[in-house]
Amino acid sequence: MNAEPDGPQDRLRRFVTIWSRAVFPVTTTSSTRPEFEEQLLPLARRLSRALRARAFDADEGRAVGAALVEAHCTDPEALSRTLDCVDAYLVLYCGGDADHEDQRARCARLQHAMAAGFAQALRARTLAEQEAIARAALQAQGVVAQALHTTEARFRAVFEGAAIGIGIADLSGNVLQVNGALLRMFGLSEHGMRGRNVREWTHPDDAPQTWRLYDELVRGEREHYHLEKAFYRPDGTVLWTNLTVSLLRDADGDPQYQLALMEDTTERRLLNLRLRYEATHDALTGLPNRSFFFERLEKALNAGEGQRFGLCYLDLDGFKTVNDSLGHAAGDRLLVEVADRLQACATAPGEMVARLGGDEFVALTTGPDTPRKVDELAGRIMNALLAPIRVDGRELTVRGSIGIVEGPAGERSPAEVLRSADITMYRAKSAGGNRFELADPEADARAITRHGLTTALPTALDRGEFFIEYQPLVHLGDGSVRGAEALVRWLHPQHGVLGPDRFISLAEHTGLIVPLGRWVLEQSVRQAREWRLLHGGDEAGPLRINVNLSPCQLTHPGLVQDTVEILERAGVEPDALCLEVTESALIGADDDLLKPLRRLAEMGVDIALDDFGTGYSNLANLRRLPVSVLKLDRSFTQSMQQFPADPVDLKIVEGIVSLAHSLDLAVTVEGVETGAQAEQLRILGCDTAQGWYYARPGPPERLHELALVDATG
């Protein structure tokens, strides 16, 4: 290479240096400037040759222009500076000796060709790069779309395969997409779901907050909410769901969609309702049961001021007989029919009928006007029972007793109300049944006391609340004390001393009469022994003790053995004991019943027929009774308190005494209150007497005093 100073090569190099210095700052190449200059050198050589060639070739200029683009001189400023450089220095440094005018013209044409070549190359490069980046973008989109497609396919599978219903709606409530589970829940086709709006799905059972929560969510004030919600299906049935709605936001956090997840709880809810129904309804009749009724009663009793309630407590009369004679199946059918009829009686709002159990039903009415309504309700019920009920081909006549309780809300508890109704119902029943009675506080109180005594009885014996008073029996002939009747008393902690009339019948009902009777017998026999020790056997014989036997004791199989044991333990002779049995207890008595009495009588125990003359005694029967004493009821002697006595009464008593004596029975009279009475009865031939005229019942010591008086008097 010729590099001699100012030789052609040196001149070319100087041109290139000037060129590269001018253009380098506007290139974006990562090469250094010297490297860049080396890239320009061949281009400068081509320009130089083109300038001096015999025939001018514009293609050389175009090629150089294109090469500039190749060398990353893509900025138009690079072309501008290149042309400036060529224009100013190409002819100067590369023109040689040729005609400068001609070269100037060629240089201008070269510049035109370079500009065209540059523009063409830049255009081609730009288009190629644009195409490359567009293709890259497209390809990247494909890759991402593929990745998205994979995840989307997975999500779609989850969405479609999910067992819970999934739905997406926009914030105006327009349903955009739902999955198969949701369509199945709603019983809708995809087509049927299209164009639906969430706001259409109101339901009367919507909780009050349902749509407030919805509005908050679509306004973006709430991220999600959860509640139970009902929907109507197209067929009119109801779909119950556990619904969770979430707000979906876009990348900028702006609310975009709402997402609903719902679980079908219809079945579960039905089951719950069914369980609730079963827990609150009577299986036989389908009526509300006791617990449901109590719930409602409690509600009625807690109702606000001015509200009242009325309750009819119905018990069928003689239902037990139906059950016993026709069987339980028939009884059940009867109850079902009764339930149906009762149900028809209480159809007004605030009214209900329930079965408490057995043949006990209640009807409840509420409101401000229950005094009238409950009366009408009871009337309807009585009417409803009028028509006979056909069971197994039989016409059964059903009657009922109703206890009515009516009153203002807020005063009594359900239990108190029901007890009052129960008591009142029993009052109606004991008044003959087939009627209704209105609750009466006094009757309630009596019944409540009675009830209280009944429940207190069993423990009273253990606690030693019973004691015995003795009323002397006086011989009418000589006025001597011959013995005493033992009368049991109950020292009740609240009610004070109660007579046998208050509790003996209760004791009979509860069966307590047997241990109580045995206790009385023990005490009395022990007392008899004490008297005997005190007085010995005087000429009138030993003091005797009279003890009452209740009908219940009479049939108790241990009567004879108990009595014998008690006597033996106390060391008391049987003839010191007289057992009093009421006339009514022996009416129609057969031999089995009389056998124990007979045994006792054979042992020497006296048997007295108490309250004689009050029942319808078969006088002829007297013969076969193992009785040795007749105790004449006080009703015969009452008229003798005055003087002169009723002659008819006198005749009757005289007749009875004569009859008794002829049967070898002694006669004792009760209720002797005056001396005139005593005298009269003595004249009539009665043997012994008791009554206030002699002494009231009292402690055992009193008898001792009396006996002493008698002995000394």
């Binding site: 644009q130 980046i133 779309a145």
Partner: protein
């Protein structure tokens, strides 16, 4: 979620991309109008952005040649963008035929473009992955195929760390990569900074705002903060310096003033 970390929800070419903006700075046409618009806006504040980009490319070229000179034949270029010209594989394979190069970018368009450019080049490949997840990079098939981690590697983090916010723990990512490299490996790094910019920071801040607006925040770090990326490396002479000062081929005085913006450095693992 099994969506690859790098995969955006969709390719939206109406959103500017830093790779294509960079290409525009370098005079390329691998860009769309949105990219050019953003680039022009940033250049209103910082007219020297093309010069800064060019200086980055020039530094990278020198650093790759340096690495080849150090005997390194495998290159891992993370944040490679759109290789317009003068790319690592051109430089490296030019200086040492058969050198292995793996490019990494999380911009799917850049990745697709790289794939097109590298078609037929068995010694170079591209991975779609994110610097914030170094494990995914190291475990990728191209890295396993082309990079032997038992031998020194040149790790290039050129003009990328200033796009990773502190919340994404860039230091942790760099450390994790370092720990995977064999002794004698090189870290080649450049980073944007207000230091060296021949403009008041308020002015340059305008360009930063542009990047913020296109959701690719540009994190300007101090020299000290940038130096911390070299923890565990010995700095190669002349250390962490403005780009034209790093082993220049020509006198730095001739360089455009903008080329001195930010810092460049190379470190070597012990």
């Amino acid at each position: 979620m099994e969506r690859p970390a790098w995969a955006p929800r969709s390719i939206d070419v109406s959103v500017p991309s830093v790779s294509r903006i960079y290409d525009y700075y370098l005079g390329g046409s691998h860009n769309f109008e949105v990219d050019r618009e953003a680039a022009r806006k940033a250049m209103e504040f910082l007219p020297g952005l093309p010069k800064i980009s060019q200086a980055n490319r020039a530094f990278m070229r020198r650093a790759v040649r340096f690495a080849v000179g150090e005997g390194i034949s495998q290159f891992l270029d993370i944040g490679s963008g759109i290789p317009t010209f003068g790319n690592v594989h051109e430089v490296a394979q030019g200086a040492r035929p058969g050198a292995h190069v793996v490019y990494v970018d999380h911009d799917p368009v850049a990745v697709a473009h790289s794939q097109a450019v590298l078609a037929g080049n068995d010694d170079a490949d591209v991975v779609a992955a994110d610097l914030r997840k170094p494990r995914e990079i190291l475990d990728s098939a191209p890295v396993r195929r082309l990079i032997d981690l038992n031998r020194p590697v040149a790790l290039l983090l050129v003009a990328i760390l200033h796009f990773v916010e502190d919340a994404d723990d860039p230091y942790g990512a760099v450390a994790e990569l370092r720990d995977a490299l064999a002794p004698g490996s090189l870290l080649v790094l450049t980073h944007a900074s207000y230091e060296g910019v021949p403009l008041p920071p308020e002015r340059a801040g305008g360009a930063v705002d542009v990047y913020h607006d296109i959701r690719n925040p540009l994190i300007m770090r101090s020299r000290e903060e940038i130096a911390r990326f070299f923890e565990g490396y010995d700095m190669v002479e002349p250390g962490l310096v403005p780009m034209p000062h790093w082993r220049p081929d020509t006198a730095p005085e001739d360089e455009d003033p903008y080329a001195f913006s930010g810092f460049a450095g190379v470190g070597r693992t012990a």
